[in-house]
């Protein structure tokens, strides 16, 4: 099942273009193609013939022959399909179907052929797709360039400002030297620009004088690249002596990282951080936070492949004098949950009486400043399950192609266990210029054109809306594009149902005032 070569010959038998897909010597392919016009009979109503070793399948196109050379066991039905596709592609790239026209567009044709046949195997592509692949219009690249440009602009701005500052100070000192400084300033702008716009490619060999040195350079790539973002261009240009503005630019910077770094889709993290930041800093002297992080992977056609809950109970004490306490808790008695105490905790006390206290009763709990939201971890727990009924929110996504459009209907169904807040369902879309048209929605939507993600947000899911749906239309696309769907939400109750019943001061006296927070957040909740 292998296409050896796809070629275009003139009627007189001249080989205009030929692309080979398996390894063969030049003399072999030239020989095969030279034999073609000789073997080509006239007046036949079929367009293939075989020799001892190969089969030719061809199609006349005006003054040309489009020929596939295959081995004899190749699947004729598939090859004819390939030939048909190629014959549609040739006029797309070559306006005049004659020797001259093909000669002019030979390279474009080779590029197009490469998209249709890969290592001799047919690819499942359409004419439109091949054209798209050959145009190489990449949304991501544009974005990347934009980011780069904005950085350059910013650098320029900073530079100008600095230059004018220096200038001003110089003017103040000496009005005569103005011109010289101007030129120096602009010179510096240029050098830094060139350093930015030619991402590290120059540095790879520019300095390398010997062979050995080059090898070292290259050998070190893998280690370097591991920790870094894929594109080295995003690293701040060294030696420019200027800092990038941190304030509002960091956002953009992050965005650009996200745009390039599809490999490490980590959208979850920055957002989780934001969610945490939204919680008001504690004002009570003692705060206990029970948080559960949810890692769930659901399969697109039902079922789940991963369900994992990790919980922590952390304690935060504002004042040192409140440090000598013990915490009495109560758990929901969920047998699937295993608790683990901090190594410094008195295990027996916990297992017998559900009281959390330090092994050394004379040591106080460490205290933290008000700003530090983390606190001290007292207890950890973990729950894994294969029980689908534990899933708080299930998503059902149905893309279906109809005519020139793909209809996608999505519905969610939330279990009665929790009331979910700030639910955001992010659906990746094929690269689009405009927002998709939303036919119907329960909730609100937002289209992130940079990452081409459609975000469907529902502020609260409670008993009134345990299920909901959305439907939108995009241009035709493969159904796999819409996955993985990632979901984030928060809830105020947890799986463990852990509650702090009491705070027992060890020095006696009235139990201090405490506040308790319970939080369920999604860490990684995806439908693959």
């Amino acid at each position: 099942m292998v296409v050896l070569a796809a070629s275009i010959l003139s009627k007189s038998g001249k080989v205009l273009v030929s692309r080979q897909f398996v390894e063969m010597t030049r003399i072999r392919i030239e020989g095969l193609l030279a034999a073609f016009p000789k073997l080509l009979g006239t007046g036949k109503q079929h367009t293939y013939f075989e020799t001892e070793n190969v089969r030719y399948v061809y199609q006349p196109i005006e003054a040309l022959y489009l020929v596939l050379v295959t081995n004899k066991q190749s699947n004729i039905l598939e090859d004819l399909e390939t030939l048909r596709l190629l014959s549609k592609l040739v006029p797309e790239y070559s306006v005049s179907l004659d020797e001259e026209g093909i000669g002019k567009t030979a390279f474009e044709l080779i590029f197009a052929f490469d998209e249709v046949i890969c290592l001799g195997h047919k690819e499942n592509v359409t004419v439109a797709q091949v054209k798209q692949y050959c145009e190489m219009e990449s949304h991501e690249e544009k974005l990347h360039k934009l980011v780069l440009q904005s950085k350059i602009n910013e650098t320029k701005d900073v530079m100008k400002r600095k230059a004018s500052e220096i200038e001003k100070s110089k003017i103040d000192k000496n009005r005569g030297d103005k011109g010289g400084f101007m030129s120096m300033g602009s010179g510096r702008i240029e050098t830094s620009l060139s350093e930015i716009s030619i991402p590290s490619s120059g540095s790879g060999f520019g300095s390398g004088s010997g062979f050995g040195g080059l090898i070292n350079e290259v050998d070190s790539f893998p280690t370097k690249s591991k920790g870094r973002q894929p594109s080295s261009a995003t690293a701040p240009p060294k030696g420019s002596g200027m800092q990038l503005g941190k304030s509002q630019k960091t956002n953009q910077f992050l965005e650009s990282l996200k745009a390039e770094g599809e490999l490490i889709v980590e959208d979850v993290k920055p957002k989780a951080g934001l969610a945490k930041a939204a919680i008001a800093p504690p004002t009570d002297p003692i705060t206990l936070t029970a948080e559960e992080k949810l890692n769930v992977t659901l399969k697109r056609d039902g079922g789940m492949s991963n369900f994992d809950v990790q919980g922590t109970l952390s304690l935060q004490i504002l004042n040192q004098e409140d440090g000598l306490i013990q915490v009495q808790i109560e758990t929901g008695g969920n047998p699937g949950i295993l608790f683990k105490t901090h190594p410094n905790m008195n295990k027996e006390l916990f297992s017998n009486e559900n009281i959390l206290g330090l092994k050394d009763p004379n040591r106080p709990f460490p205290t933290g400043p008000a700003g530090d939201a983390a606190g001290v971890g007292l207890l950890k727990w973990r729950m894994q399950s294969a029980d689908e009924s534990m899933v708080p929110l299930s998503i059902n996504c149905w893309p279906s192609v109809s005519g020139n459009e793909t209809y996608v209907s999505i519905e969610y169904e939330a279990s009665a266990m929790f009331d979910l807040q700030n639910v955001v369902i992010s659906i990746p879309l094929p690269a689009l210029r405009e927002a998709p048209s939303i036919r119907q929605i329960d909730g609100e939507w937002r289209f992130d054109s940079r990452n081409s993600i459609l975000e469907w947000s529902i502020v609260l899911i409670d008993n009134s809306n345990r299920s909901g749906s959305m439907e939108f239309v995009v241009p035709p696309a493969d159904s796999s594009v819409f996955f993985p769907i990632s979901v984030r939400f928060t809830a105020t109750s947890t799986y463990s149902d852990l509650k702090v019943v009491n705070i027992i001061p060890l020095r006696g006296g009235a139990p201090p005032k405490f506040s308790q927070r319970t939080n369920l957040v999604t860490e990684n909740y995806q439908v693959m």
Partner: protein, 919 residues
């Protein structure tokens, strides 16, 4: 290992691009100019230039370019440049491109990444690939399927390299993981392909764990699954049972390509009747459902293979195969009939003939141009059915006789030959055939058909009434007597051409036929006249035997004589463009004499011997056919060391052993030319040619290998001097249809050292070619170049032609058509005609078309036709006509005809050279 060639582009030498211009454009900032320059650089490289100075320019100015087209062209450039030195070590400067490739692999543009990954698939240099491996692996998880697809293929190609397993130790595991989560059908296929090629245990494992879902997989993946199954079953025959189920489930796949592949797999896997039947059924379905002629023809090829290996099963499907006749394509119809005719059995013959008859009727109604030809092959098919199963002859012969007057001469000839054979072999049908023939005689148009029909009438009219009506029919067709009278000569001269037409129906009615049938040209009229004369003579002689009334006989005799005389008179009249030829004239005169003076001796010759020799000819033909059949049967016999399957001991699953070698792989290797049969070593040494003298400063000898379309010269050059030879260059030039592939290169040859040089020469047609050459070199102290002229290398035409078979008619058509004739007078020491013919056949590597029986006997002369075909599909025709002279020497001519001058000339030279014999 020779370098592989990945692309060819026609290069117009009229517009030479200069390296400097290219360099300038590459250094500039104008993107379109850069693109143009890159294209030119690639074209120059393809044309054999090496352009080493361009590399650094490209590294400096093209590598950093952001333009996508430039980057793509750069990849093409990198694809074709020489990346290693002569010893196969990587060139140090190649490391410069690594950085760029790595950047491309991390490019924000997904297509740049994709094409770069694809480029890596074509790269063989581990040193370049090694630093790129981590980047390739990163791309395996990229969001974009386009990148993943190509990344998987790149991993596969890298892993397949000689040191690939060290570069990518855990590639199979990685790809297996990818396969389990991948959703893109193409990427999934590639991943499976990778496992299939690199770790097929894992591929099998994956297949078996997902066995229930195979039918839901994409078409591309299913195809690879089938390939995998074939491969596994070849290496591990015991496993077959597991896979048959998968194949059966795929037989219902929506894609016809998959179905076709399934059937093929099924056949290669099992010879169980059910499996074969399922495969054959599938093929038959495809045959009907696919409208593309190519598909139909190839499916018929598959059915034909099944027919030879599993005839018993195919017999049941004969009617399904026959349905392919509905296609209007003649090639398909012919192939179908070829298959069907070998499947005919007594059980299905009636059904088959019925359908063929229907088709013949149908061919009559349509106005299609090809219908005549189609009818001809149908008639031939019915003919061979009737020979095999004489009982059906009666049902078809009358229908066939309707076509005696067919405007397609060839089919009319077939019909009459058929009738002639049937009337002899089926005595029961004689009466009805004769009656019918006499009824339809007037419809006959073609001279050849007519003479054959006349012969039948003459031989097989036995009863008095038949003889009489025979005579009457002929007389009626000849028209009124006399054919020509002197009085008419006086008429206007311009009417002279019309005269014979108005006089004779027979002759006028035969006119168009004669024009159509160029084999006989104008002589045919009188040849036919001679045939008419003989027939009438025969009939009159028979009448004498069967008719008791003397009066009637005498009357018939005189009438016949009158006709003969009129014919002679017409033949000698000046109104005809050609007068009667001597042969016909002699025969007519002979018949006149005979009728005037009959005798027993002569009667015996005329009434019995003719028939006897015909019977002999028929039995000869039959004998030949049975012998051919026997020879065929001989071939299919088992080899002494073959495995024997005992039916009763076979496993219950019904799957027999499968005797497949790794044919798929071989097929591909043959196709790419990698597969070369080991030639006989002794033969190899015979082909060494000495190119220079032993005392020349440079000694050279060549070993010539001739493949189909190319010639490879392995030349050993030895420096015999004590000096270093610089810029030593082997310059070759060719004559004939030969072309050098590469440009010559310069070498430096140390004192008394030797060098192997390889030269490829492309052959594009069959003819004797000559390769000339020089060796040019400089020595260190003398600056002028020294030239050593080499012996010519002659390329033998015999390497290009092989014996072939064609039908008599085809031979004659080609003989008439071909323009080039080379006539070689016989000049030999061989005394025996047969021996001489054998000598010619042996030395020209041709096939003798004339039957051996026709060459038997010692009559002093011999004529035979030889035929061969070249690898380029050209025909070579040879006719040998020799006569033994009184002095015992042979004389005569050998004529060679071909479409091209080359063959005629080269073959003629060859024969002139070899015909002397005696050596």
């Amino acid at each position: 290992m020779e370098k592989s060639c990945t692309l060819l582009i026609h290069f117009d030498k009229g517009t030479p691009a200069i390296a400097n211009e290219i360099k300038e454009a590459l250094e500039g900032n104008d993107i379109p100019a850069k693109i143009d320059a890159m294209k030119k650089a690639v074209m120059l490289l393809l044309n054999g230039e090496t352009l080493p100075q361009l590399f650094i320019t490209i590294v400096r100015y093209v590598l950093p370019s952001e333009d996508h087209t430039v980057q793509k062209l750069l990849l093409l450039y990198l694809e074709i440049i020489e990346k290693t030195d002569l010893k196969g070590r990587i060139l140090p400067e190649m490391i410069l491109i690594c950085q760029n490739l790595r950047n491309n692999l991390q490019h924000p543009n997904e297509y740049i990444r994709g094409v770069t990954l694809r480029f890596l698939c074509r790269l063989n240099e581990t040193e370049i690939i090694e630093p790129l491996v981590p980047s390739v692996l990163q791309n395996l998880e990229h969001r974009h399927p386009f990148i993943r697809r190509n990344a998987i293929l790149a991993v596969m190609s890298i892993y397949k390299l000689p040191q690939g397993e060290q570069l990518l130790v855990d590639a199979p595991e990685m790809i297996e993981k990818v396969l389990s989560t991948e959703q893109d059908p193409s990427a999934k296929r590639n991943a499976f392909l990778m496992l299939f090629n690199c770790a097929h245990d894992r591929a099998i494992n994956y297949l078996l764990t997902h066995v229930d879902r195979v039918s839901e997989w994409g078409e591309l993946l299913q195809m690879v699954v089938l390939e995998l199954i074939r491969k596994v079953c070849r290496t591990n025959r015991g496993e077959k049972g597991k896979y048959i189920k998968i194949i059966i489930s795929l037989l219902n796949a929506p894609s016809t390509a998959v179905i076709y592949e399934c059937a093929g797999t099924l056949v290669s896997l099992s010879s169980a009747p059910t499996a074969i039947r399922a495969a054959a059924n599938t093929y038959c379905q495809l045959l009907l459902s696919q409208s593309d002629n190519n598909v139909k023809l190839i499916v018929l090829d598959r059915l034909n293979e099944l027919k030879s290996s599993h005839r018993d099963i195919m017999v049941d499907l004969i009617m399904d195969v026959l349905r392919a006749l509905s296609s209007p394509n003649l090639d398909i119809q012919r192939k179908t009939l070829d298959i069907v005719l070998e499947l005919v059995t007594p059980r299905n013959i009636n059904e088959v003939v019925l359908l063929l008859k229907k088709e013949v009727m149908k061919s009559q109604s349509g106005e299609l141009e090809k219908n005549g030809e189609y009818r001809q092959i149908l008639i031939q098919a019915i003919h061979s059915c009737a020979i095999k199963f004489p009982e059906v002859a009666s049902t078809v012969v009358h229908l066939m006789m309707d076509f005696l007057g067919d405007s397609n001469v060839a089919s009319a000839i077939d019909v009459i030959v058929f009738v002639r054979e049937i009337i002899e072999t089926n005595p029961k049908l004689r009466v009805s055939i004769i009656t019918r023939l006499l009824d339809t005689f007037y419809q006959i148009r073609a001279a050849w058909v007519c003479s054959c029909a006349l012969w039948i009438i003459g031989e097989y009219c036995l009863s008095p009434s038949e003889v009489e009506s025979g005579i009457a029919t002929i007389k009626q067709c000849l028209g009124e007597l006399p054919f020509y009278s002197v009085s008419e000569e006086a008429e206007a001269t311009d009417a002279s051409k019309k005269t014979p037409q108005s006089n004779s129906i027979t002759i006028s009615s035969r006119r168009p036929a004669i024009l159509a049938d160029d084999l006989f040209s104008s002589l045919a009229i009188f040849f036919l006249a001679a045939v008419v004369t003989c027939t009438l003579t025969k009939l009159v002689l028979r009448l004498e035997e069967v008719q008791p009334s003397k009066v009637e006989v005498n009357k018939a005799t005189t009438q016949a004589l009158l006709i003969f005389v009129s014919m002679l008179q017409l033949g000698q009249s000046p109104v005809l463009p050609h007068p009667i030829d001597n042969d016909s004239c002699d025969r007519i005169v002979l018949c006149i004499r005979l009728l005037c003076n009959t005798g027993d001796e002569i009667r015996k010759i005329w009434l019995q011997s003719c028939r006897q020799s015909f019977v002999k000819m028929l039995s000869e033909k039959q004998l030949q056919e049975t012998e051919e059949l026997k020879a065929k049967a001989q071939v299919s016999h088992a080899q002494p060391d073959d495995l024997i399957d005992f039916y009763h001991l076979k496993s219950r699953k019904g799957m027999s052993q499968l005797e497949l070698e790794d044919e798929v792989q071989d097929d591909l290797k043959r196709a790419t030319g990698e597969f070369v049969k080991d030639a006989d070593d002794a033969n190899k040494l015979n082909r060494i040619l000495q190119l220079t003298g032993f005392s020349d400063p440079v000694y050279a000898e060549a070993y010539v290998t001739v493949h189909h379309y190319d010639i490879v010269l392995d030349i050993t050059v030895i420096n015999r001097t004590r000096e270093t030879l610089q810029n030593l260059c082997l310059e070759l030039a060719t004559m004939g249809d030969l072309k050098l592939v590469e440009r010559p290169q310069n070498y430096t040859l140390a004192p008394e050292s030797s060098k192997q040089i390889k030269a490829n020469i492309k052959v594009s047609s069959t003819e004797t070619g000559v390769i000339f050459g020089n060796i040019v070199y400089e020595t260190s102290n003398v600056l002028e170049r020294t030239v050593v002229v080499l012996n010519d290398i002659h390329i033998d035409i015999m390497d290009y032609i092989s014996p072939a078979v064609c039908t008599d008619t085809a031979f004659r058509t080609m003989w008439a058509e071909f323009e080039w004739e080379n006539k070689v007078a016989v000049n030999t020491v061989i005394k025996n005609e047969k021996e001489f013919l054998d000598h010619i056949i042996k030395s020209t590597n041709m096939k003798c078309l004339t039957a051996p029986s026709a060459l038997d006997g010692e009559c002093g002369f011999l004529a035979a036709n030889l035929y061969a075909k070249s690898v380029f599909g050209e025909d070579a025709l040879v006719n040998v006509s020799i006569e033994k002279q009184a002095d015992g020497k042979l004389s005569g001519y050998i004529r060679i005809r071909s479409k091209t001058q080359g063959i005629a000339l080269s073959l003629g030279d060859k024969i002139t050279l070899k015909q002397k014999g005696g050596s």
